[in-house]
């Protein structure tokens, strides 16, 4: 297993290398205007000087080489536009904790609400919970997040007298953004859990358990739920990453100083170093997330072993 993990990590490194190279090259295709805030007021001289000092006038291969040398020295460089001269890691480091915390919290909420909902839906197919859950899932998928987040923010703050904006010091202000962030995942988890549980319910071993005389509550709890949860486990790490990276609406609405919209922001501002660093981090985390998903799955499911190469799913 260690060996397998090591091998996959090496493979991932190559993948990362390619990804970064491509993103690096794509970023260099962007118009130079994007590197300046005050483009219109600058003279040729200044633009030239600035581009030169950012190393953007060197041939691409040299830029790439410098970039990799810098990475080898353990530095992701400084931000260029987003916050000039501030080390990229410092910026990310200051934003990551809130995002990670909020991502984890929202994921916990999503699991706490989504899994019971999915279970209830699977249990009483076409019962109240199934209908309710389906309605909820359909609502969440049909209404754009941008709209229902705003609805939640405006009405809930009004009804419960909550502050509109997030503030790190005020725990009450965490509630709405975190809950909003989990809405999509609640629907998603409920939907998949229901699907997997219904699949699982048709398996022979459930029949055997019933024939043994195990009551349906224990069957749900001890047999169906856990087995249905296994295929979901694999996606949890990636799902967390998406939650963090995709919290752009929430962070904008509630002023959460997280890194949700950061990537989009720095791409638009053409802060090359930030883009590269973020892509590097996100891809790395994504790849590790996949691996972690496999490991988790391996822990949950004794049948799966890394020795056998992962089959089809």
């Amino acid at each position: 297993m260690l060996k397998y993990t090591a091998k996959r990590l090496v493979q991932s490194l190559i993948t990362l290398f390619i990804i970064i190279t491509i993103v690096f090259s794509l970023m260099r295709l962007m118009p130079v205007e994007g590197y300046f805030q005050n483009f219109d007021k600058l003279d040729k001289n200044q633009i030239h000087t600035a581009l030169q000092s950012m190393g953007l006038l060197d041939p691409l291969p040299i830029q790439l080489k410098n970039f990799y040398l810098q990475i080898l020295h353990g530095s992701l460089g400084n931000s260029m536009i987003y916050r000039p001269n501030v080390p990229v890691m410092e910026i990310i480091g200051s934003k990551a904790p809130v995002s990670i915390f909020m991502g984890l919290a929202s994921m916990a909420i999503a699991l706490l609400l989504g899994l019971p909902l999915g279970t209830a839906m699977a249990r009483g197919k076409s019962g109240f919970w199934d209908k309710f859950g389906t309605a909820f899932i359909v609502f969440i998928t049909a209404v754009p997040a941008a709209v229902y987040y705003l609805l939640v923010q405006l009405y809930f703050t009004d009804w419960f007298g909550l502050p509109i904006l997030f503030s790190a010091a005020n725990p009450v202000s965490w509630v709405l953004p975190t809950v909003s962030l989990s809405l999509g995942n609640i629907a998603y988890y409920a939907m998949w859990l229901r699907r997997y549980m219904v699949d699982e319910l048709n398996k022979d071993y459930i029949r055997l358990a019933r024939a043994k005389g195990v009551d349906s509550k224990s069957i749900m709890k001890n047999h169906v739920f856990r087995n249905a949860f296994v295929p979901m486990v694999q996606y949890l790490p990636t799902s967390l990453l998406y939650t963090i990276a995709g919290s752009i609406y929430i962070e904008s609405l509630y002023s959460v100083p997280g890194m949700g919209g950061l990537l989009v922001n720095v791409i638009q501002r053409q802060d090359n170093n930030m883009v590269q660093a973020l892509v590097l981090i996100y891809s790395a985390v994504g790849i590790v997330g996949l691996l972690l998903g496999d490991v988790l799955m391996n822990l949950m499911d004794p049948r799966i072993s890394f020795v056998k190469k992962g089959g089809a799913r």
């Binding site: 491509i22 962007m30 754009p144 705003l150």
Partner: protein, 331 residues
Amino acid sequence: MALRHQKTAAVEDSINQSLKNLSDDELFTFSGFDEAAAERSGYSDYSYWRSTFQVFLKNKVALSLLILMGVILLFTFIQPMIPGQRSATEIFNDASGMQLRNLQPGGEFWFGTNSIGQDLWSRVWSGTRTSLLIGFAVALSEAVLGILMGVLWGYVRKLDRLFTEIYNVLDNIPQTVVLILFSYIMRPSISTLVFAMCLTGWLDMARFIRNQILIIRDRDYNLASRCLGTPTRRIMLKNLLPYLVSVIMLRMALAIPAAIGNEVFLTYIGLGLPVSIPSLGNLINEGRVLMTSAALRYQLFFPAIALSVVTISFYIIGNAFADASDPKNHV
């Protein structure tokens, strides 16, 4: 073993009728045995697509949504041609030449007007048309590209490593980078949007198809085809793809609302269509700002409802169709 073949059934019935009138003596004689009839017994004629539609037609909700969708589709395309309909981009002025801004929904403007006096009713329809166009274009190209790549990826073992690597790479390149570059090179327009969405959108489809293919690739019937020397191309076309029809339909049905949803997001981060081309994405985004003032919320709700109707319809139709196209459900 669906319906009994009607002709056979009729013949059987008439035989039974005639037998009923026999006397005891006659009843206890051998009836004779027809081997061909025995061979035929119990089975009926059957057509895959007919059964698919039959099952689908039984799902009343999906059917009514399909009809609704059909009507909507039809209407979006003929709406501009109907006399008395306003143009989606024309600005309406009052007698004094000022724009009819933010008129509430009413008899004159059914959905009201927006902040520069354009007719929201025609804008919503026009937006639906644009968004559906984007949705269909994206879904279609995703399907074509995704299926092609997915089948190759899944079936041709040698390509697996390469494709997996390509997938990992492309999947990790942020869509925003690509979009921004594209809108710089190509200007924000429907084709830019579609193009950029397709550029990475097919990946999911391809991976999905690949996984499905992996599941059925080594089934006996494919081995049989290989034993018969069937070339790979035909195996893909005849053995693999037909099995994926249902899932592909489902994915495509979901890809349409997903593309529209994606458009909303892209509009939000400023990469969407210009307002001169109304789309659900920019209508909703414009409307969002008005959320706080109760009287103007209609400008958000109309396009949001349009979007929801489209999304829900495709979602349910897609699911129903996927169910229907699974022969397991054709009993």
